[in-house]
């Protein structure tokens, strides 16, 4: 019986001591509380800044992407302007519906790029004689040029030249090559 009393006593003392220790520890720690609270405030600000920064970065990246995209679009539009030819029928400088729709697109591009000047080249297939084709090529270039002028593009931005049959895109003597070669080609100056 005495033995268990002792044990209880010791337990009580230990528990009390434990409390004491805990309370002691508490008092010693209390003085550090405000800095901890401060730090947690700072963390919140940092996160906000970081988030903002991230957002800005994302925005910038988006902007860059947009810029790149629009640049790519601009380049593509420019390439398309330079690469897409207006085609003609054999021995003709008349503009087909297809030719007119291509020219409308060119006019839109020229309107969007008002600082650009262009040379319109007239070309022919190899059939017909050299001199005649030089003349025909000039009429093709001028037909394309006049159409653009009628769509509101200043004539001062448009130059024309005929190369007749001297610069074929495809030098083979077959119908598909002839079709490619009968063209008005646009060169940005």
């Amino acid at each position: 019986m005495k033995k268990s009393v002792w044990i209880n006593l010791v337990m009580a003392v230990l528990v009390a001591g434990l409390f004491l220790v805990v309370s002691c520890a508490k008092t010693t720690v209390v003085s550090d509380v405000p800095p901890i609270q401060d730090r947690s405030d700072m963390d919140a600000d940092d996160a906000k800044i970081a988030a903002d920064r991230l957002k800005a970065e994302k925005l910038r990246e988006q902007e860059i992407r947009d810029q790149e995209l629009s640049l790519a679009k601009t380049v593509a539009a420019k390439d398309r302007f330079g690469n897409q030819d207006v085609h003609f029928e054999y021995d003709s400088a008349d503009l087909s519906l297809m030719a007119k729709s291509v020219l409308k697109e060119k006019a839109a591009w020229l309107q969007a790029n008002s600082g650009v000047s262009v040379t319109v080249e007239g070309h022919c297939d190899e059939r017909g004689t050299t001199d005649y084709n030089l003349a025909l090529g000039e009429r093709r270039a001028n037909a394309a040029k006049s159409y653009l002028v009628n769509l509101g593009i200043s004539a001062s931005r448009l130059d024309s030249i005929s190369f007749g049959e001297e610069k074929p895109l495809d030098a083979s003597s077959i119908e598909s090559a002839f079709r490619k070669n009968r063209r008005a080609h646009f060169v940005i100056k």
């Binding site: 001199d131 000039e138 030249i161 001297e166």
Partner: protein, 443 residues
């Protein structure tokens, strides 16, 4: 180089018309061969070995060379055919080249209607002297005989001078032997202007623009060349004196193309587009406009004057398709000449003004036709042999030079007789060649 070879016309060649009576017979009396006859049979001619008067080795080798030049020149004509010497029964180089030393039965017996004998002598000054005779072997008449003296370097020109004399005696015309052909070639990568002799020999490059150069045209005195070049960025006409290297440029706004010289004058026609429409103008050497020749909306190109300068043929699209038209310069009247086919371009007058050669496209076939001015009847000269373009007559009307892509689909310069026979390649050169223009003969 170019200068040197054109100087040949100043040769101190013909010393005298030696053999008296031939000079008294006018060409008209002995018009042996009618070169405008499309059915002309080639006359067989025997060209014998040249006699070396001093007998030196160099004389003999020069004589052989002269003979070869003579044989190729005669064969080039559409009306003579030199015979194979294997058949010859006599050798005038040993027995004598003069009329009284020749047994004409030796020649009539083998079918030689004409006989040419030649002798060569080295002179003290280092020049050479050629003595050449043409005989009619059936009548035994001497048709022409001359001595030609000049430096060894001009042996070819001396022989060709004799060929002109032969031609004059036989046809009443001096032939093509003193003429030159200008053309465009890509042999060095770019289209440049070249010049060669009538037979495709002595090719020389005239321009080095390293651009696109086109449409060369001889003035009637063969002193000037006009051509189109992009060397300054757009088509302009450059005019060049081939002796003095004097030059000028015709440069109006738009394009300046297809020059053709007014015969006997220092003026030329060309298509200019500064007005907004392509029209043909007559211009001075400096490019000043003398007058506007065509007045019609649409393409007007390829002016070509008749040799008397009174008419001008040209290509016009005024009726909807490209067709050959003829304008009378004095009356201003224009008439359409071609009606068959949808695409007829590139006219060239025969020297007698009776016919026009042109290019016609039918069923995607590009061929050369000749049309009679009066009857309007076209005759097709090329057929089933690639694309054929750019016809131009020789000054005697016996031949046409033209471009054909019959060999490997690449355009090359060819010649044919005016009737369309004997179509053959004129010169061997790599790259493409086209737009030949034949000068008038200068001897």
């Amino acid at each position: 180089m170019f200068l040197k070879s054109t100087k040949m016309f100043n040769l101190s060649v013909v010393i005298c018309l030696v053999f008296s009576f031939c000079a008294q017979v006018s060409a008209k009396d002995v018009n042996y061969i009618n070169i405008s006859d499309p059915f002309v049979k080639k006359t067989p001619v025997a060209v014998t070995q040249f006699k070396a008067f001093n007998g030196s080795a160099i004389e003999k080798s020069d004589g052989e060379r002269a003979k070869q030049i003579l044989v190729s020149a005669l064969d080039f004509t559409g009306y003579l055919k030199t015979m194979n010497p294997v058949a010859f029964l006599a050798n005038p180089a040993q027995m004598g080249i003069e009329r009284d030393k020749i047994n004409f039965r030796d020649w009539t017996g083998i079918g030689a209607e004409l006989l040419i004998t030649g002798g060569i002598k080295s002179t003290h000054s280092g020049d050479i002297m050629l003595e050449l005779r043409l005989f009619d072997s059936f009548t035994t008449r001497l048709l022409t005989g001359n001595r030609y003296t000049g430096p060894r370097s001009q042996l070819r020109e001396m022989v060709h001078r004799f060929c002109s004399d032969v031609s004059y005696k036989l046809t009443g015309k001096r032939g093509v032997f003193g003429s030159k052909i200008t053309f465009v070639s890509t042999v060095n990568g770019h289209k440049e202007i070249f010049v060669c002799d009538f037979d495709g020999q002595n090719i020389e490059q005239v321009t080095s623009h390293k651009s696109i150069s086109l449409s060369p045209s001889w003035s009637s005195n063969s002193k000037w060349l006009a051509y189109v070049t992009y060397s300054r960025g757009r088509p302009e006409i450059f005019i060049r004196n081939i002796m003095s290297k004097k030059s000028s440029v015709i440069s109006y706004k738009g394009m300046n193309i297809s020059p053709d010289w007014m015969p006997g004058q220092n003026s030329l026609a060309a298509t200019l587009s500064f007005s907004g429409d392509q029209e043909i103008y007559l211009l001075t050497l400096k490019g000043e406009i003398i007058k506007r020749i065509t007045k019609s909306w649409g393409i007007d190109v390829s002016p070509k004057f008749s040799s008397d300068g009174k008419k001008m043929a040209f290509t016009s699209k005024r009726t909807g398709t490209p067709q050959i038209h003829v304008k009378d310069i004095e009356t201003q009247k224009v008439r359409r000449l071609t009606f068959k086919g949808m695409n007829n371009t590139s006219p060239s007058w025969s020297p007698d003004g009776k016919r026009i050669a042109y290019v016609g496209i039918e069923d995607n076939q590009i061929n050369i036709f000749v049309i009679n001015i009066d009857s309007g009847m076209p005759v097709q000269l090329t057929m089933d042999a690639g694309d054929n373009e750019d016809p131009c007559w020789s000054s005697d009307g016996s031949m046409l030079v033209f471009t054909s892509s019959r060999e490997g689909r690449v355009p090359r310069v060819f010649v044919m007789n005016a009737s369309g026979t004997d179509q053959r390649r004129l010169l061997r050169m790599s790259g493409k060649q086209n737009q030949p223009d034949w000068s008038l003969s200068q001897n």
